[in-house]
């Protein structure tokens, strides 16, 4: 064993193998990325597409007001997905501050399916201020 470890050839081979394996590791990362073919054309990635839905809404929001947030989580998505959608909404609408609550004057609705105004009004006492399409709505707390 000692003789084996002392052999220069073994040591040289080990050094070159270390270099080769490292190179293969980088190459496999490139190949994996290329073969996955999940490279979207510029501007078509998930986050960019998601935040484009909020472009028109962002122009309508009043400055310096914390707004609420409502989504259809629990019905069509997991809590994790709902959290991700909320965080992405906050990212898209920065610098407006969005709180995950319906206890605000204005509430941002982010729905994956068509919104039925009646259902919302009943459940959360909300009325639609503006429907921006694609599941994005601005809602208002209805006076009791």
């Amino acid at each position: 064993m000692r003789h084996f470890c002392n052999s220069t050839r073994i040591k040289s081979a080990l050094i070159l193998l270390t270099a080769l394996f490292s190179l293969i590791s980088v190459a496999s990362l490139v190949i994996k990325q290329l073969s996955g073919m999940n490279i979207e054309p510029l501007g078509k990635d998930t986050v960019t597409v998601y935040e484009k839905r909020f472009g028109a809404l962002r122009k309508e929001l009043p400055p310096h007001e914390v707004m609420g947030y409502i989504s259809d989580e629990g019905r069509s998505m997991s809590a994790e997905n709902a959290d991700e959608r909320y965080t992405l909404t906050q990212y898209a609408l920065s610098p407006f501050v969005i709180e995950y609550t319906t206890e605000r004057r204005l509430i941002i609705g982010n729905f994956s399916r068509g919104v039925t105004g009646d259902e919302l009004q009943k459940r959360h006492h909300l009325t639609i201020v503006n429907d921006f399409g694609d599941g994005v709505v601005l809602l208002k707390k209805r006076n009791e």
Binding site: I15, T18, V30, Q33, L34, T48, T87
Partner: protein, 477 residues
């Protein structure tokens, strides 16, 4: 404007380094090393300047560009006026490279440059796939950059308690660097955070490789760079625009600068001052940097007093603090007056923390996670078990001039691991979730520095070949 913003940052970094460490006879690895340090230092200093502008004046307008320019002109004037260029050239004890052009060295160069090009390609492909980066990038760093860029004077909203999920207490080096670049360009683009992450990822490789090329040998530097490039998680994480890669850069830079200081023949502590700046910038990047600064201060106290005595320690401490304190002052101001309390700290109570400290099952759980993660570190093949085998076969060769530098780096890294360990033990979060979502990133922060220490002790390819020649021709030696 993109080029101007980059040029100002990089030149600021380079001049700052050159003021502290002038070099009369620049060697190629030293120039590259300075260039790598300049990237981190430049963006760090620029973000500190921008933070002062933001905290005390206004985030709107472009007057801060004038401040950047004035600071750069001031630095340039100091550079020309500085007598240190004549008095204290950075004259370090670096050996002429043995067999630097051997066949082995040429092979390693070929492998390294191929891997570097491929890694840049992989980074670009990953960034095209996710230009906004991973979760932390858009939920924390880039979101904060957007708040600063889009919000104008509404700075308080950036740190609103409604945004607790995005950890508003996290330091601002990355968000400020991104928003500063956007302000120069007057528009928001995903290219900036991608470019910033790319620079930090690859200058980390450059810094690791050049520092080892300079201190050990060219082959050793190339090999270390290759192992880091072969760590897919490092490249993926860099492309995900997380702060762990820039943080890892500042950890590595600090430890490298201390090692270079030990090799320095100049009787000054300029490299220690530079290490103070990089250590400060680590805490300006992520909260883990605070633990790093404490570890550095503790280890230098023990190592330097035992090796060189109190006087040397106090002199070194003064130089370290000269670099560290300006950055730390900004961090303290940010933590006291702007940021909300840290979620991990504020959720702690003395009784609950004591109970967690006495709970042995938590120790077992964290130990197990540490072991599992340690084995996974590195590439698919060139991982920790592989590197242990490599060390066993190649053996250890430590230059007596590097003993203090290596001991310093090694103990600092051990303290960091210990510190992280107790953060988990006392964590108010669900331990399993906390470990599974963060431990791999904490290890990644330390990975470039661990590789640096590893390749500082393991026999270099050139040393291995020269030992062999000596054994084959004992008379000719």
């Amino acid at each position: 404007m993109l080029l101007l913003s980059l040029f100002i940052s990089l030149l600021t970094g380079f001049i700052a380094i050159h003021i502290l460490c002038p070099e009369r006879r620049p060697m190629k690895p030293l120039i590259i090393l300075k260039g790598c340090l300049a990237v981190g230092l430049g963006f760090g200093i620029s973000s500190c300047l921008f933070s002062l502008w933001l905290f005390f004046y206004s985030s709107s307008g472009k007057v801060f560009i004038l401040v950047d320019m004035i600071f750069l002109i001031g630095l340039t004037a100091i550079l020309f006026a500085s007598s240190s260029v004549r008095k204290y050239p950075m004259h370090s004890e670096f050996d002429p490279h043995i067999d630097a052009n051997s066949k082995m060295s040429r092979f390693l160069s070929m492998f390294f440059y191929s891997a570097f090009v491929l890694a840049v390609g992989a980074f670009i492909l990953l960034s095209l796939d996710r230009p906004h980066g991973g979760w932390d990038a858009w939920a924390i760093w880039n979101m904060r950059a957007r708040f600063i860029f889009r919000g104008g004077d509404r700075l308080d909203e950036v740190f609103s308690h409604f945004l607790a999920f995005s950890h508003p207490d996290y330091p601002l080096l990355l968000p400020l660097s991104v928003s500063r670049l956007w302000k120069y360009m007057s528009h928001e683009t995903v290219v900036m955070p991608v470019l910033l992450s790319m620079l930090f990822t690859f200058v980390t490789v450059g810094l690791l490789s050049c520092s080892l090329s300079l201190i050990r040998s060219k082959g050793q530097g190339l090999l270390a760079g290759l192992v880091l490039l072969g760590t897919s998680f490092f490249i993926k994480h860099g492309a995900a625009q997380y702060a762990d890669v820039p943080l890892g850069f500042f950890f590595l830079a600090t430890l490298v600068l201390f090692c270079l200081h030990e090799r320095s023949l100049s009787h000054n502590n300029n490299l220690v001052s530079l290490a103070g700046i990089t250590a400060g910038l680590s805490a300006w990047t992520k909260n883990e940097g605070i633990l790093f600064i404490v570890s550095i201060l503790a280890v230098r106290l023990i190592v330097i007093i035992s090796q060189k005595g109190w006087r040397a320690y106090l002199s070194e401490l003064r130089s370290f603090l000269i670099g560290l304190l300006p950055v730390v002052a900004i961090i303290i101001y940010f933590k006291i007056y702007i940021a909300p309390p840290n979620d991990l700290v504020s959720a702690q109570g003395l009784i609950v923390t004591s109970e967690k400290l006495l709970d042995l099952s938590r120790y077992k759980q964290v130990f197990a996670a540490y072991g599992k993660e340690a084995i996974r570190l590195g590439g698919r093949i060139v991982n920790v078990p592989f590197l242990i085998l490599y060390l066993f076969i190649l053996r250890v060769t430590i230059d007596s001039r590097d003993k203090i530098g290596i001991a310093n780096a090694f103990i600092v890294l051990c303290l960091m691991l210990l510190g992280y360990f107790f953060v988990y033990i006392t964590s108010p979060l669900d331990l399993n979730m906390h470990l599974s979502t963060s431990l791999n990133r904490l290890f990644l922060q330390l990975w470039p520095s661990l590789l640096f220490v590893y390749f500082m002790v393991v026999t270099s390819p050139e040393q291995m070949l020269s030992h062999n020649k000596e054994q084959e021709n004992p008379v000719s030696g």
